[in-house]
């Protein structure tokens, strides 16, 4: 397997907490521009895998490469984010006391040190970019509203919007439709597909209907390693997947 064409390359990764093996010899490869859905039962290691990729958790063992050449295990969250990996949490995490505009402003690609921030003034280009994103996430009428006042689904979208503002090469999206209405779920699927046109994306999701809607390659994790990989139909036909996850 060659690394050079991949956006994300995990090989033989293991990590354990107090003797509990959360990730066990996991190998996963994502090609540039690919969107991948990851499914698996609770405790399968989905979130821990994201922690490893984003530098939150250091693996005990194994290789993690981004963009074919960057060893992610030797970088921390901020550096990894600056390289172009964006992450959306399972529980929507936005800056609740800030307005939507301000949220996006903080996420916008740009210098990340203190003094520029202290003397920063919003440029016309930045304003345009923010307008664009607000349009994409369909929150135009609430742009000055404080994020705390948004509904659950709107917060999910705002968070996705913040990922877009970061302009990453790879997006890690953790359960984007949890707690959404059916209409919102559809909308979100459309949004993600739109994003996937020019970004690599990993989506973790339990909602099989949503995964089907995305129509992409699926990886099923179990007990910290890959149980099955392929199209959704292929995976859902896999005996073991049915056993541990989908149920009979």
């Amino acid at each position: 397997m060659s690394k050079s064409n991949t956006i994300l390359y995990l090989d033989g990764v293991s990590v354990s907490f107090d003797g509990f093996r959360a990730i066990n010899n996991l190998s996963l490869v994502l090609d540039r521009g690919e969107m991948r859905a990851i499914i698996g039962p609770n405790g399968a290691g989905k979130t821990t895998m994201m922690d490893i990729v984003t530098g939150k958790t250091r693996p005990d063992d194994g290789e993690v490469f981004f963009d074919g050449e960057v060893d992610l295990t030797s970088h921390d969250e901020a550096e990894i984010a600056m390289m172009g990996i964006g992450r959306k949490f399972q529980k929507p995490t936005v800056f609740e006391s800030h307005s939507i505009e301000e949220n996006l402003m903080l996420a916008l690609k740009g210098p990340r040190s203190i003094f520029p921030a202290l003397f920063h003034r919003k440029s016309a280009a930045e304003a345009r970019r923010i307008d664009d994103i607000i349009g994409v996430i369909r929150l135009g009428d609430k742009r000055r509203e404080v994020a705390a006042n948004l509904s659950h689904g709107q917060k999910q979208w705002l968070e996705i919007g913040m990922l877009l503002a970061q302009d990453p090469k790879l997006l890690l999206v953790d359960e984007p439709v949890a707690g959404m209405t059916d209409a919102e779920t559809e909308e979100t699927a459309r949004l993600l597909k739109e994003i996937a046109r020019d970004h690599s994306v990993i989506v973790v999701e339990h909602d099989m209907r949503f995964v089907r809607e995305l129509g992409v390659k699926v990886t099923c994790l179990h007990e910290g390693s890959v149980l099955s990989e392929g199209t959704l139909d292929f995976v859902s036909a896999d005996e073991r997947v049915v056993e541990v996850y989908l149920g009979r």
Binding site: F17, D18, A22, T47, T48, D51, K56, F89, K91, D174
Partner: protein, 533 residues
């Protein structure tokens, strides 16, 4: 001292048991003696008679119980009884009426006199029936070596049947040989005997070996000292560790209630120290009641105070939880403010009720004094506090891990809503948990009243250390509190002899700060999957 012993010697040789009239004549001299030196001369004269009967008046004098009746200048033993003094005859002990305090004059004693009396009694009681008295006598004679003591000691050794007394008598004899003009061989043997004791008293004796002793004696003494000192150095290290463990047990006691209210419940309980203080004051009140009403129970006062302190502090904790804390769950910082206010109020309340001064809390006899393990002096109160701290810890651990209540407690603190929906009465559990933490702080106060001031400021002295211990050990982990308390105690006490008390403590604080950098969640942190999950 030599004169005294000579007199004693001559007295024993001439007549055993002087006539009682002679003794009375000497005792009467106390009435006319002016100043400590003249009183001292009378003591010596009395001791010189060698009559065992003089033990009574001398002991009374040492205890400050010898009086002169102003009316007839008679010297009598007095015992305070209510407003008056019960008088008795100094020799026979026969009652001799009562007197008002103004009608009698106490014969003053000071340390020097007391020591003289102690020495005199030492020789006099060498032949006492009670082996404990003989042991004390031998101990006194060991510390006051005198060439003239050798002969009476020889006699005593020959008659002695109890091995421990005999050993001490032999050491006393050796000490006396060392200051006598006996031949070199005897002295070398004496050094052997003393050196075998291996303690500081032996060093003290050996260092005072006469400068004009022979070289062989000096060398032997020096060698013995070096030998003892090297073992003592080892014991010193042990002593420091013991002190550390003891300090650790105090820290553990102080912190363990906080490990519940802060560690488990998340209330930044600044009034924790005041709960400890309430426990100490409860002990004081219990002791007062016992002193006035049931003096016989005094040795049980702490045992009685324990449940009382638990209830008092627990009840106050319960009231605080119901009245204030319960409105503040989910806002831990507000609990800091409110409990700080509560602590001010409690302090001032105690100050208003009991006054600002220290209150006296007595040590029961089983918590007084010390005993030796090798060269390690272990005080009973420290040992009991250690035992007590570990017991409290054990019981608490059991309650938390093994009882249904503990399970409910942990369930509520882990997930209040879930626990409530499973039918646990969360407000009740909260209140009881807080009361438990407070009550434990209260019983810690019972123990701390034995070693510290019982004053309104008692709690303030422990609050910072308690927070350090809980945080150092890892919030929410009882074992962490245990290990944290003992490690901070031992580190502190091991540093203290080298760095001094102040610098030692500073170093410990800096170490805590650095340690938290290394383990930002304390010693026993819960590790787990990232919280974003």
């Amino acid at each position: 001292m030599i004169g005294l012993a000579l007199l004693f010697l001559s007295a024993t040789l001439s007549s055993l048991g002087a006539a009682e009239a002679d003794l009375r004549a000497i005792i009467a001299k106390f009435a006319t003696a002016k100043g400590f030196s003249e009183t001292g001369a009378v003591v010596h004269e009395l001791a010189a008679t060698g009559d065992p009967k003089v033990e009574r008046p001398l002991a009374a004098l040492a205890d400050g119980n010898l009086y002169i009746r102003k009316a007839d200048s008679l010297v009598l033993i007095g015992k305070e009884a209510g407003d008056g003094v019960q008088l008795s005859d100094p020799l026979s002990g026969a009652a001799s009426g009562e007197a008002a305090k103004d009608d009698i004059t106490k014969i003053k004693v000071n340390n020097t006199l007391r020591r003289a009396i102690r020495d005199a009694l030492g020789t006099l009681t060498l032949g006492a029936k009670d082996p404990a008295v003989r042991l004390a006598a031998a101990g006194t004679m060991f510390k006051t070596p005198d060439a003239a003591n050798i002969e009476p000691l020889d006699t005593a050794i020959a008659n002695e049947t109890v091995a421990s007394v005999k050993a001490l008598l032999e050491q006393a004899r050796a000490a006396s040989v060392l200051v006598s003009d006996r031949p070199e061989a005897d002295k070398l043997a004496a050094i052997q005997v003393i050196g075998a004791r291996g303690d500081r008293d032996a060093v003290s004796l050996l260092t005072s070996v006469d400068a004009n002793a022979s070289d062989a004696v000096k060398q032997a003494a020096a060698a013995a000292i070096a030998n003892i000192n090297s073992t003592l150095a080892f014991w010193d290290a042990g002593q420091n560790i013991w002190y550390g463990i003891s300090l650790g047990s105090v820290l553990l006691l102080a912190a363990i209630g906080l490990a519940i209210t802060f560690g488990v419940m998340g209330v930044i309980n600044m009034a924790h120290g005041e709960m400890v203080m309430l426990g100490a004051y409860t002990t004081f009140v219990v002791q007062q009641v016992i002193r006035t009403s049931f003096p016989g129970l005094f040795d049980w006062s702490l045992v009685i105070a324990l449940p009382m302190a638990f209830l008092v502090a627990g009840f106050v904790g319960f009231v605080i939880e119901r009245g204030i804390i319960r409105f503040l769950y989910g806002r831990p910082l507000e609990t800091l403010l409110a409990t700080w206010g509560v602590s001010l109020i409690l302090q001032q309340a105690v100050r208003s009720i009991f006054g600002p001064t220290n209150q006296e809390v007595g040590n029961p006899t089983w918590m007084s004094g010390s005993f030796d393990v090798g060269q390690l002096a272990i005080t009973w109160n420290r040992l009991w506090i250690l035992v007590f701290a570990l017991t409290v810890f054990g019981v608490l651990l059991y309650v938390m891990k093994r009882t249904p209540w503990g399970l409910q407690m942990r369930a509520v603190t882990a997930n209040r809503r879930m626990a409530a929906s499973m039918g646990i009465r969360t407000p009740w559990v909260d209140a009881l948990t807080f009361a438990l933490g407070s009550g434990i702080a209260g019983i810690a106060g019972v123990a701390l009243s034995q070693i510290d001031n019982v004053s309104p400021n008692l709690g303030r002295g422990y609050i910072i250390d308690s927070f350090m211990v809980v945080v150092f050990g890892g919030v929410g982990n009882l074992w962490g509190t245990l290990v944290g308390a003992f490690s901070l105690g031992v580190v502190n006490k091991v540093l203290e002899p080298y760095a001094g008390a102040v610098l030692g403590k500073i170093v410990v604080l800096v170490l805590i700060v650095l340690f938290i950098q290394k383990r930002p969640r304390g010693l026993f942190a819960l590790k787990g999957r990232a919280v974003e999950a």
